[in-house]
């Protein structure tokens, strides 16, 4: 009948009064928790100074998972028995639970209990534990818990904790900025200090150090693709803003706004306009401008670099080809001419098309300088296509602004070195040089890079060509082309074609390589994909051939020999096939070029291209040739097959010349065979052409620039 059972006399007999009460409480616990509590309450009033009784009371409510009661008991224990070891063990498991987020029942109970302690008890508990802790990291973590729970304590403990963490990191000799001390400092302490209700006072040097450490940390996370830090830029901006406030930097307030490249840029520009030479690099104004601009630049740079890599294929900025507008007046109208447009290069990029990997020219957009409006109007398009050009131009504008002033340039450079963004900078510097037309410098720089790479590779020979050497050669090729060092450009292009095996398969034929523009120059962001790279190289060689011969304007029998001229025209026909495409959408300028080549052939009585049947399968070209060969008047005599062994002995060639009727039939059937091959994929055909016939191509360009010694 009774709810509580008295202990058997044996059990209770030898017990002290204290233990008797504890025993009764424990026994009652299973049957009637209220009775158990009544026992504990009685025991506590009987023996207020007995640790065992008080601790047992705590244990009972803890077992019952009664958070509030446990907190009450624990607080009593803390106030009365701080020196007791048993209590200290409990305190330690409590602080351990606070540092972890283990969802096991004991730690979560302890965390809940902590939350139910009075704030005084919480603060006291953490402070005492931190002070007792011998391990620095432990000490810092505990203080951090203290600070995160008691924001008012931040201004008092924060600065000391900054010192502790900085010196701990220094003495730990951690190589990487991604270490536990830095993480605690940057990810937890800086935001806490930023949010402190009482302003935190730090020495100015310390604030700068914090800025460097913070930026360096997040940059290293971005470089190592550490995904554990979400939104690193948001965190950098947030932290930078709060640290800037400590320095009373007006300009740092821009970092509290949501990110918008143009919005930030306008404000930084406005601030920049206040500066008048000469500047004191140590002054408050210059420092804040250096730091704010530096951070902004880093984000632009990072966005640009990321945009280059965000698509299916990485993009690389190269010199592309300009179609002079005067020759194409009838075609599509040009974008409205704007002031200053022609001094800056046109930059184009292809939109990735989800269908058609190859063959058909892809959709394209043209990003032009000052294209922020077009950026916003193209929202529905994949992000990087239009914005990558905007990223490039903003970053270059910012870079130019930084470099327009010595003090600022030095400050920013120093900052960039300190936070370790070299990896992004080196690629960007090359793009800047190309963009600005400092191509000679670019070539020098690239050749240096090539040499140093070679010395490294020299130690490990026979390594397959890497993507970086493809990129290097692409840049060199495009730079040489820009400098009109055509043989060198072609030589590099041929080398690249030899390396195509290491370029990822994919990409589309682009209609953007050749653009009609008022600008002097045209740059293109080329995807590092096999088709794209091949098309670029092919077009570059085609352009080089076209430029080197000027056959159209030359009277027959000029400086070049007839054979060379025929060879050149033949080669161009081969390359033109890629431009004509296998659909009804030829590249811009392709039809014109075909017309020119045909009219050139027509103007002569004979045309000899012995490898014709090997490489020319395009239906349009074949039709034109057939037409020329079979015309009633002034038909051209063609020599289009390599001499076979029988032909060599019989001295008979497939030719339309002469009266050999059999020969004419041979020609026709050869053309039919070629026509039958018109569905043949062009890329392997071209690669074969470039590999097998590179001597032809080289020889055509060789005589013109004696200074150049091609690699064989």
């Amino acid at each position: 009948m009774p709810v509580t059972m008295a202990p058997s006399s044996n059990e209770a007999h030898g017990l002290s009064d204290e233990d008797y009460l504890v025993l009764r409480a424990k026994q009652a616990f299973m049957v009637d928790p209220h009775a158990a509590k009544a026992w504990m309450l009685t025991a506590k009033t009987l023996y207020p100074n007995n640790f065992a009784v008080q601790f047992e009371a705590y244990n009972i409510v803890k077992t019952a998972k009664n958070v509030k009661e446990a907190a009450k008991c624990f607080e009593t224990l803390l106030q009365q028995f701080q020196g007791d070891n048993k209590l200290w063990n409990e305190v330690e498991s409590l602080t351990r639970a606070l540092r972890s987020d283990i969802s096991e029942s004991e730690p979560s109970f302890l965390r809940a209990m902590f939350a139910n302690l009075s704030t005084d008890a919480q603060q006291q508990l953490l402070q005492v534990t931190a002070d007792r802790s011998k391990d620095t990291m432990e000490h810092c973590r505990l203080l951090m818990i203290l600070l995160s729970r008691f924001p008012h304590a931040v201004s008092k403990h924060g600065p000391r904790l900054v010192d502790t963490l900085l010196s701990a990191e220094k003495h730990s000799h951690c190589q990487s900025p991604d270490n536990c001390y830095r993480k605690l400092l940057v990810c937890e302490l800086v935001p806490l200090m930023g949010a402190s209700p009482i302003p935190v006072e730090l020495p100015v040097r310390q604030i700068y150090r914090l800025m460097h450490k913070m930026v360096e940390y997040y940059i290293s996370c971005m470089l190592t693709q550490d995904s554990s830090e979400a939104d690193p830029w948001e965190k950098i901006f947030q932290g930078f803003w709060s640290l800037g406030l400590m320095l009373n930097w007006e300009l740092a307030k821009i970092f509290s706004q949501p990110w918008g490249r143009e919005l930030y840029w306008q404000q930084i520009m406005n601030n920049h306009e206040h500066f008048h030479h000469p500047l004191d690099p140590e002054s408050h104004e210059v420092r804040q401008h250096v730091y704010c601009t530096g951070i902004f630049f880093m984000r632009c740079l990072h966005e640009y670099i990321s945009a280059l890599q965000s698509g299916e294929h990485q993009l690389v900025l190269l010199e592309a080809f300009v179609l002079p507008p005067s020759e194409q007046e009838t075609s599509e109208p040009l974008p409205k001419r704007r002031k200053g447009d022609d001094s800056l290069p046109l930059v184009t990029v292809d939109t990735p098309s989800s269908t058609n990997s190859g063959g058909c020219p892809s959709n394209s957009t043209t990003g032009v300088m000052n294209c922020s409006q077009s950026t916003s109007s193209n929202r529905d398009r994949p992000v990087f296509t239009s914005s990558v050009v905007a990223h490039l131009t903003t970053t270059i504008r910012c870079w130019s602004m930084i470099n327009s002033n010595d003090a600022i340039q030095r400050g920013v450079t120093k900052l960039l070195q300190m936070v370790g963004v070299d990896q992004w900078l080196s690629a960007f510097h090359q793009d800047v040089k190309l963009y600005r037309g400092e191509v000679n410098e670019l070539v020098t720089h690239l050749l240096q890079a090539e040499n140093s790479e070679k010395t490294v590779q020299g130690q490990t020979p026979n390594t397959a060509p890497t993507m970086s050497s493809v990129v290097l050669n692409l840049r060199l090729s495009s730079a040489f082309f820009c400098l009109r060092q055509l043989p060198a450009a072609v030589d590099r292009a041929l080398q690249i074609i030899g390396m195509l095996g290491s370029v990822p398969i994919g990409g589309n034929l682009s209609s953007n390589l050749l653009k009609q523009t008022y600008s002097q120059r045209h740059l293109h962001l080329l995807p590092l994909a096999r088709t794209s790279v091949l098309q670029y190289c092919s077009h570059l060689i085609l352009s080089a051939l076209q430029a080197s011969q000027h056959f159209v304007s030359q009277p027959p029998g000029g400086s070049a020999t007839t054979t060379e001229l025929d060879m050149c025209v033949g080669n161009m026909l081969v390359l033109l096939q890629l431009e004509l495409g296998d659909t009804n959408q030829p590249m811009p300028g392709a039809i014109d070029l075909l017309t020119k080549l045909v009219s050139h052939i027509r103007s002569r009585s004979s045309f000899s291209y012995p490898i014709f049947t090997n490489y020319i399968v395009n239906a349009d070209i074949l039709e034109e040739i057939m037409h020329l060969a079979t015309r009633q008047e002034g038909s051209v005599a063609f020599e289009i097959t390599p001499p076979s062994s029988t032909q060599l002995t019989s001295q008979r060639r497939i030719s339309t010349r002469g009266v050999d009727k059999g020969a004419k039939e041979d020609f026709k059937s050869a053309m039919r065979r070629q026509m039958a091959r018109s569905d043949e994929p062009l890329e392997p055909l071209l690669i074969k052409f470039f590999t097998s016939e590179q001597d032809y191509v080289r020889r055509l360009l060789w005589p013109q620039t004696k200074t150049y010694t091609p690699r064989m």
């Binding site: 009948m1 009774p2 709810v3 509580t4 059972m5 008295a6 209770a12 009064d17 008797y20 009460l21 009764r24 009637d32 209220h34 009775a35 509590k37 009544a38 026992w39 309450l41 009685t42 009033t45 009987l46």
Partner: protein, 444 residues
């Protein structure tokens, strides 16, 4: 003067009930509540007020002095009218003068309330009071409940009238309506003083020395409500001690000391296991003979004494007693240890005599048990032993916590001496520990 009074009555006689009652209330207010002058009403004015109340408010007599009675509907109308009157009327004079010099609103309301229900209240009017308070509880009429709480304290929580009120309310809320608990949940928050005094009265009702075993179990619903009140409101039992009545009373009145429910409710908890056992024993012995303990006990037997084990019938004590007991202990501790506001801690919470009153029924029960024991030498059954130990444990706990929390007042030595008589009973170890702790060492 006489004429004026006559004309007052004449004018009131022109209207019918309940309008006459409404007008009469305003007359009574003018007569009883001291006006701006601060002059208390004269004896004649008070007499007139009493006459008006009897004839026009409660309608106990007609104009010729013959007694009469309101119909049931009219009684309800009256309760409604009084509720509205106390809740809605702005007391304390109408002009600026009155507001400054006159008594404040609470005092005026209490004055009228106490005049309406003097200690000499008739049975009929006591019935009207039950209806009024019952209605005030259900409509959450705080002014009426506050005044009732003061009225209870001034008359004494154990006085006949107050006991009658409590009995009426228990009947209304716990006997007739089974699911009262949820409706009464927030009563302590609404009217703590009233609730505390109601608790005291009810505790005494069921634990008065007039009861045969010193305790008669309350209806289950009442026990449930009380347990919940005390558990949820640790300071509820102290509410009557905290209120300073003086400024709330009519001029010249002396506030009566508050009586807390602690001793009475502790008595419930201590005696409950003993009584549960006796009732179930009795039932097993004489199952057809009914119970001498009245309706409530019979109900208790019917609902709770159903478990037969080994031929020895064991009634199961409601677990609510254990919870109530703990809530009482915690309320005592709360008084001392709610460290944040020690200012609020009150002393003289429970008198030692009052607690010591629990000792005698325990002895009586023990002796009865020995008498009916069929063993030689007479001793307690196993169940009896357990019941006694639980009772003594609870008594020991109550005494210990009350003493430790410094809540007991009076001659502590007397209490200890009384407890000492129990220390040789079986299962009294805690009691001995408590005695050892508090008894000053003997000189011998």
């Amino acid at each position: 003067m006489q004429l004026i009074m006559m004309s007052e009555k004449q004018s009131l006689r022109k209207s019918e009930f309940p309008n006459c009652a409404r007008e009469a209330l305003h007359k009574v207010e003018q007569l009883c509540v001291p006006q701006a002058s601060g002059r208390p009403p004269s004896a004649k004015e008070m007499d007139l007020a009493m006459e008006i109340m009897a004839e026009f408010i409660f309608c106990e007599v007609d104009r010729r002095g013959h007694s009469k009675k309101l119909t049931c509907i009219q009684q309800l109308q009256l309760a409604q009218l009084l509720c509205d009157y106390f809740a809605g009327v702005q007391f304390g004079g109408s002009g600026p003068l009155g507001a400054i010099a006159g008594p404040n609103g609470d005092t005026a309301r209490n004055t009228i309330f106490l005049s309406l229900f003097p200690p000499t209240t008739s049975k009929g009017r006591a019935q009207a009071l039950v209806q009024l308070v019952s209605m005030a509880i259900s409509t959450k009429n705080k002014p009426v409940l506050d005044s009732t709480g003061i009225w209870m304290q001034q008359l004494g929580c154990t006085s006949k009238l107050v006991l009658q009120l409590a009995e009426g309310l228990v009947k209304d809320y716990f006997v007739l309506v089974p699911k009262a608990v949820t409706r009464l949940q927030d009563l302590p928050a609404l009217a703590p003083h009233f609730t505390a005094n109601f608790l005291t009265t009810v505790a005494e009702t069921y634990a008065s020395s007039e009861q045969k075993d010193g305790f008669s179990p309350p209806p289950a619903a009442l026990l449930e409500v009380i347990t919940q009140w005390v558990s949820d409101n640790p300071r509820l039992c102290l509410a009557a001690l905290i209120v300073n009545l003086q400024p709330l009373l009519p001029l010249g009145s002396i506030p009566m000391a508050a009586l807390t429910p602690f001793a009475g409710l502790f008595k419930w908890c201590v005696l409950s296991p003993l009584l549960t056992l006796s009732v179930s024993n009795k039932k097993s012995r004489d199952i057809t003979n009914g119970s001498s303990n009245g309706i409530t006990s019979t109900k208790n037997v019917k609902t709770e004494g159903m478990n037969n084990q080994d031929g020895e019938c064991s009634g199961k004590e409601s677990p609510l007693y254990s919870q109530l007991h703990l809530a009482l202990l915690e309320s005592l501790v709360e008084n001392v240890y709610s460290s944040a506001n020690r200012v609020n801690s009150v002393r003289d919470v429970v008198s030692v005599q009052h607690i010591a009153g629990i000792v005698e029924p325990v002895h009586t029960w023990y002796n009865t048990q020995l008498k009916i024991s069929e063993r030689k030498p007479p001793e307690l059954s196993r169940a009896g032993h357990e019941a006694l130990e639980l009772a003594l444990d609870r008594l020991g706990q109550a005494v210990q916590v009350a003493l430790a929390a410094n809540c007991a007042y009076g001659n502590k030595q007397y209490l200890l001496t009384q407890l000492d008589t129990l220390k040789n009973l079986p299962g009294s170890r805690l009691l001995r520990i408590v005695l050892k702790t508090h008894q000053t060492p003997s000189l011998f």
